[in-house]
């Protein structure tokens, strides 16, 4: 079909609709490495502005760590830029095997398989291991990539209310006639920063003969005493059947993901997972950097401990000044504003104050749950946090919401 003016117009109208709905996403160009202090060009063509970054997934501050950059440089020199192949033809180097082995050790599992991203891991894993006699039972707030993976799988699908263990138990009872029951959850949920109740989920899985799947992308490297993830935090290390996670957040922040877990399940992914079979291998430069990241996080918990301290300082500061935040311990700290326009306006004003944050509102989060999601990093020093809190206090005061309850904010601004 020719790309006629009529066709062009129809696509343009769709884009106009996205703009009119206030959902148009604009990229901001960062003119520096990822860090606590970054330089941003926004809008396009504007002079670069130095801001403190509170919206990256750079939890451990390793995205531009000199040792990681140097390891990547060495990898580039010794193993080259690319492999021009999928893994199973001629795209597997020794370092891919080493990284998979290191991830297995770190996550406390039996085996690991790298994917180009965790999005790809989630898209491929269910179809590879489940059939039409099986049931997937997912928390209703799992990541979008899991939803896509479930759609690609022939197994039956069911859901349970977010973190509601009574509802999950009902569902497990309902599906005792299925061949395999797989409970599916995020480890840390990216919207609210809350943790899955993995100890209770594992107990239910044992009671009702089910397997457990966890996407630990927002946890690997820093949740748990030694940063192994939500399963360590909940005391169920080695009891999770399948973990997917990313190298694109705390673990260096470049790209790449993996499926880690029971060796037979990982081997089935190696044989059948289509994103693994039909995507290029993870580039040697990333693999080399990621091995160094695991060296760093395995040698000391210093960065993870600093992140924990930063998180507590930040949460305490926001609460003390009278802002409404989602309770919890994770470095994802949503500042609740409820009204979409208020979230957008405050994010814009904070940017003017040198604080880079983003407002989230429906349909990204539920209606009436608009917020600014802040994310902490071990790269933040106390002065970054103090400046951030100062800016939040100033902007929140401008909008008159300091010390206001959810009800009061809703009365002032509506939903």
């Amino acid at each position: 079909m020719a790309y006629s003016n009529e066709v062009r117009d129809s696509f343009s109208k769709e884009l106009d609709g996205i703009r009119e709905a206030g959902l148009f996403k604009e990229e901001r160009w960062i003119k520096s490495p990822q860090a606590a202090d970054i330089e941003v060009e926004f809008p396009a063509g504007a002079e670069g502005k130095k801001v403190i970054n509170f919206c990256a997934n750079n939890y451990l501050g390793l995205s531009n760590h000199p040792d990681v950059v140097e390891a990547a440089r060495i990898g580039l020199g010794t193993r080259g830029y690319g492999l021009s192949s999928v893994r199973f033809i001629c795209g597997t180097q020794d370092i891919h095997g080493h990284l998979e082995h290191r991830l297995t050790e770190f996550l406390g599992t039996e085996d690991t398989l790298l994917f180009p991203s965790c999005m790809d891991a989630n898209a491929g894993v269910f179809e590879a291991i489940l059939g039409d006699q099986d049931i997937m039972i997912a928390d209703r707030l799992v990541h979008a990539s899991i939803v896509d993976g479930m759609r690609l799988c022939k197994a039956m699908r069911d859901t349970y209310k977010h973190s509601n263990m009574e509802h999950l138990e009902e569902k497990l009872q309902d599906h005792q006639d299925k061949r395999i029951r797989l409970i599916i959850t995020d480890g840390v949920f990216s919207m609210d920063g809350d943790l899955a109740k993995l100890d209770e989920i594992v107990a239910l899985a044992e009671k009702y003969d089910a397997m457990v799947f966890v996407d630990d992308s927002h946890a690997s490297g820093f949740i748990g005493k030694t940063g192994r993830g939500t399963h360590e935090h909940c005391g169920v290390l080695s009891q999770i059947d399948i973990i997917t996670t990313t190298l694109g957040k705390a673990l260096g922040g470049a790209s790449g993901g993996c499926v880690s877990g029971r060796k037979e399940l990982v081997e089935l992914c190696r044989q059948r997972a289509r994103p693994y079979l039909f995507s290029n291998t993870v580039a040697p430069v990333i693999v080399s950097g990621a091995i160094k990241v695991l060296d760093l996080v395995s040698a000391t918990t210093e960065r993870r401990d600093k992140l924990e301290w930063n998180t507590k300082f930040w949460r305490d500061g926001l609460v003390k000044m009278g802002l409404d935040i989602k309770a919890g311990d994770s470095p994802i700290v949503p500042v609740m504003l409820y009204n979409a326009k208020l979230a957008q306006d405050m994010a814009r004003d904070l940017y003017e104050e040198g604080i880079y944050v983003v407002g989230f509102f429906f349909p990204v989060v539920a209606k009436g749950q608009a917020r600014i999601r802040t994310q902490l990093s071990a790269a933040h020093d106390q002065h970054h946090l103090e400046k951030g809190l100062e800016a939040f206090a100033k902007v929140a005061d401008k909008y008159g919401i300091l010390g206001k309850s959810k009800k009061e904010i809703k009365e002032m601004y509506g939903l």
């Binding site: 209703r140 699908r157 919207m191 349909p363 989060v365």
Partner: protein
């Protein structure tokens, strides 16, 4: 092009036909026409082509349900209407919100 032929049946005034009743009636007539017209024609060729390629094929009548909200679209099938809608409901539950990356 010849004019399409359709059958219109007047239902008694006192018959309270539900949407389900009407759907069943529509499906029954569609099935009769399908079976009488399609045997040994193109559908058999399609079936044969798949069997030749070693596919095990099952083709039968089932309930299908679909839900649309803006650009979001989900479909589900089931042996019963209840089953189809239950499967559909579970998929729509995963659209409570888009979620953050």
């Amino acid at each position: 092009m010849s004019e399409k032929c359709s059958i219109q049946i007047e239902l008694p005034d006192d018959l309270e036909a539900s949407a389900d009743n009407l759907e069943v009636l529509r499906t029954v007539f569609q099935t009769i026409i399908t079976l009488s017209r399609e045997c040994g024609t193109k559908s058999n060729q399609e079936l044969q082509a798949m069997l030749t390629d070693d596919w095990q094929v099952h083709c039968g009548l089932t309930w299908s349900a679909s839900a649309q909200r803006g650009k979001e679209f989900e479909t589900a099938t089931g042996k019963t209407k209840e089953e189809a809608l239950a499967h559909l409901r579970q998929m729509t539950c995963l659209h409570e919100m888009d979620g953050c990356p």
